[in-house]
Symmetry: C2
Subunit: 153 residues, 2 copies
């Protein structure tokens, strides 16, 4: 909790700061594996079933997209360690375009706002816009996440 522990604290966050990272290769095997466990709708399991829908071909579950985004966020946090306290949730999650096997996903983030807690002044919250794009720079998913973070001790 010292000022020299190398962590990012509430005071270090600046509204407007952007970041770009990721490069997640979406595989057919992983799309089917995730959908089999958690979202076994036909268009997430086979090209044949997806051809009957607006997806056109096998596409990833929206929740699988979120999971892949989380992996990119965690990998990025490992490189830029925050005095984080988890997340209470997020607002306005939107799945805008299908995610297909063969896609490569990347993430852009921007800090939208931050606020120190009135009731617990040792912590603060901040909102970030998260944009998910594929290899053709098509925006496939957006969300506004809420993060909790410690105030410097």
């Amino acid at each position: 909790m010292s000022e020299s522990d190398g962590l990012v604290y509430f005071e270090d966050l600046e509204v407007g700061t952007t970041a770009a990272f990721g490069g997640y290769h979406v595989t057919r095997e992983e799309v089917i594996d995730f959908a089999s466990k958690y979202d076994p709708q036909p268009f997430h399991l086979s090209d044949e079933a997806a051809a009957q829908t607006h997806f056109g071909r096998l596409s990833a579950s929206g929740w699988h997209t979120c999971a892949m985004v989380m992996r990119m966020l965690v990998d990025n946090l490992t490189a830029n360690r925050q005095a984080g306290l988890g997340s209470p949730g997020l607002n306005e999650l939107r799945w805008l375009k299908p995610v297909y096997p063969g896609d490569v996903l990347r993430v852009e983030t921007e800090i939208l706002s931050k606020k120190q807690s009135q009731s617990r002044p040792e912590m603060g919250s901040f909102q970030s816009a998260i944009r998910v794009l594929n290899q053709n720079d098509v925006l496939v998913c957006t969300m506004q996440s809420i993060g909790l973070i410690r105030v410097r001790g």
Copy 2:
């Protein structure tokens, strides 16, 4: 698309309708498997690391909770088939309490509103409140989902 195909269409949805279903057994193996792939933060991987945090012991990734909820929703939809057209996303996802191995999750839903599309009158959208509870009736997660559904032909 006939009136006798047994599907639920936009006209059949009634605001205020509730449903309750589920019974998903959360296992330690699955919590660690999901986190290893998608959310490898220490408190989602081991009891020892989680003991250092407010989680206290190994807890599921919030995204894993969402994935388990989706599985319960899909299993319920299979029993109550809708003329569904997928989901553009959701609002106000909140992770309220930790989800632990050994928990049994269930879902309560309520239709909050519905609206026929102006630009595409062959379809409509509806918003549902989704509440996720554990075996002790503790509310662990809430969200408002948006669904698209066909208007009866």
